[in-house]
């Protein structure tokens, strides 16, 4: 009961003091707001880059061309050899009959259509293929070589060189954005901690009096920590609004894709809400961390 009364008083006092020291509170809130907007933009960018690189990577396919005169039995044997390979995505091995490939070509152009329309299975010079997806694109070169060694596999194609470059470029981009996000959050934490420090320095006397009348350290700290939390929540309101409405508007304007249909944006729902939750969590944690660090200084003798 006593603890609840003290807690209640702390929460009430925290709210009071946010408004009593309004100008300094406003400084802290603006600081949190601005840095969180930058954090939000960076997070959204990094998630999107991550998203489309993953999509593109998933699209990378190894095509194994089989011998022209292959029998159905041999086709099944190739399949058995494929599924035992480590990096092969077992659920994503697709057999494509040469007659189907012919049909696809005929659909794509009238010239092909006129040439290919009277091909029979035996006359067809094209090859049956396996379309294979891999679990790790980094190892695609090795996997392609292994597939090539399988009996009755004639040639293997997967956009050699291009794919490797793309994958390593994506890897670098992902690492860079991750580093930027982490660095920004740390910088934000210290920036906010320092702003709150100034707020608290102006209340050194209050802390001294609290100590004097016999308030325990935790009792002195709590209202300030709550205050930091409140500042964090207030500070994250505008970044959250910008995230929710701004990103949704952007998504609608670009119709969900940038430059080419290959680069897809993440759908706003539930993405923006998750980002908003993340922002408010960062704001609260950083606010609390900042205040508790700042008060600590005054609790020693």
């Amino acid at each position: 009961m006593k603890a609840f009364r003290i807690l209640g008083r702390n929460v009430r006092d925290s709210f009071k003091s946010v408004f009593r020291n309004f100008s300094l509170s406003l400084a802290s809130i603006s600081c949190i707001t601005i840095t969180l907007i930058v954090v939000a933009v960076t997070i959204i960018l990094s998630f999107n880059v991550n998203n489309f690189t993953t999509i593109i990577e998933k699209d990378v396919t190894i095509v194994a061309f089989l011998d022209v005169d292959i029998t159905q039995e041999e086709i099944d044997e190739v399949y058995d050899d494929l599924i035992v390979l480590d990096n092969v995505d077992k659920d994503n091995i697709e057999f494509k009959d040469k007659m189907d490939t012919t049909k696809d070509y005929m659909k794509s152009s009238t010239i092909f259509k006129s040439i290919m329309s009277d091909w029979t299975r035996d006359e067809n010079p094209l090859q049956d293929t396996y379309q294979i997806k891999v679990t790790d694109t980094n190892l695609i070169h090795k996997t392609a070589e292994e597939i090539e060694k399988i009996d009755h596999v004639d040639v293997v194609k997967y956009g050699e060189g291009m794919v490797e470059k793309l994958v390593s470029a994506f890897e670098v981009i992902r690492k860079i954005t991750l580093i930027i996000v982490i660095a920004l959050i740390i910088v934000t934490a210290f920036l906010i901690a320092n702003t709150i420090k100034i707020t608290i320095m102006s209340r050194k006397r209050e802390i001294e009096i609290m100590r004097l009348v016999g308030a325990s350290n935790i009792n002195i700290k709590l209202p300030f920590i709550f205050e930091g939390l409140i500042l964090g929540v207030f500070g994250s309101i505008i970044p959250m609004i910008i995230t929710i409405y701004g990103y949704s508007a952007l998504y609608a304007k670009f119709k969900g894709q940038v430059i080419s249909p290959l680069i897809k944006l993440i759908e706003p729902t539930p993405f923006v809400y998750l980002i908003s939750l993340l922002l408010i969590a960062i704001g609260m944690l950083v606010g609390m961390f900042g205040s508790s660090r700042a008060v600590k200084k005054y609790l020693k003798i």
Binding site: R5, I6, I209, L212, G214, I301
Partner: protein, 231 residues
């Protein structure tokens, strides 16, 4: 029974200056003790050690059975709850009313509102400020602000009240009024230790007087001795 027992205490600051040398002093429950001496004689250091604003370098200080030198920083509040402290500059919260300033000392202890109200009103009545409870410090005179500070210091019924030049900023008449309040509190059983430069007050009250010089006790006058001996 001695409420405060100071034995062989020495205090040297980090800067190397020694403020107190091998000091022994015992104070009984219910006593009213003046600590006097020239500026820089160690008066403030001595009382700061009593409420653990400073730690003794060596020696032992017992306050109500607590070994002050051994209390950990985060446990200091336990000592502070047994001691009320009043300063020359009042140390009030400017944005809180007289009532709120006094109530603050009880709120940090987590007392229920009704109990806080009755205790605060009682103590404001004792210092004669019942009708100014809703005033802010800057609307009160110096003497009134000091009364608020005294009320705050005694509201949770401490055994000891430490006063660091409580009349230092006040005119003679107001000073005497403050002394009346302190005497009344003393008569209710609270031990009072008061540092002062105001010799007139010391003479008038006829209490025990401890004279410090260069960190040592030069003389310990018993009740009534000081005024008859000095000129």
């Amino acid at each position: 029974m001695d409420l405060i027992r100071i034995s062989n205490v020495k205090k040297t600051y980090k800067t190397g200056t020694t403020a107190i040398y091998d000091l022994d002093l015992n104070i009984k429950k219910g006593e009213f003790v003046f600590i006097i001496g020239a500026t820089g004689c160690g008066k403030s250091t001595l009382i700061k050690m009593l409420y653990r604003e400073e730690k003794p370098t060596s020696g032992k200080i017992l306050v109500g059975g607590l070994d002050v030198g051994k209390i950990k920083d985060r446990k200091v509040y336990k000592l502070r709850r047994k001691i009320g402290v009043v300063f020359q500059n009042y140390q009030l919260l400017p944005n809180s009313t007289a009532y709120e300033n006094v109530a603050f000392a009880l709120e940090v202890l987590g007392l229920p509102k009704s109990e806080i109200h009755s205790k605060v009103m009682k103590v404001l009545d004792l210092v004669g400020l019942k009708n100014k409870a809703k005033q802010y410090p800057n609307h009160l005179s110096g003497g009134e602000q000091q009364r608020v500070a005294i009320a705050r210091a005694i509201v949770n019924g401490p055994k000891i009240l430490i006063c660091d030049e409580p009349t230092g900023n006040l005119d003679p008449k107001t000073s005497l009024e403050i002394m009346d309040v302190l005497q009344a509190i003393n008569e209710l059983g609270t031990t009072i230790i008061m540092v002062t430069h105001d010799i007139d007050i010391v003479k008038k009250l006829n209490k025990r007087v401890v004279l410090l010089d260069s960190g040592r006790i030069v003389k310990d006058y018993k009740e009534g001795e000081y005024s008859s001996e000095s000129i």
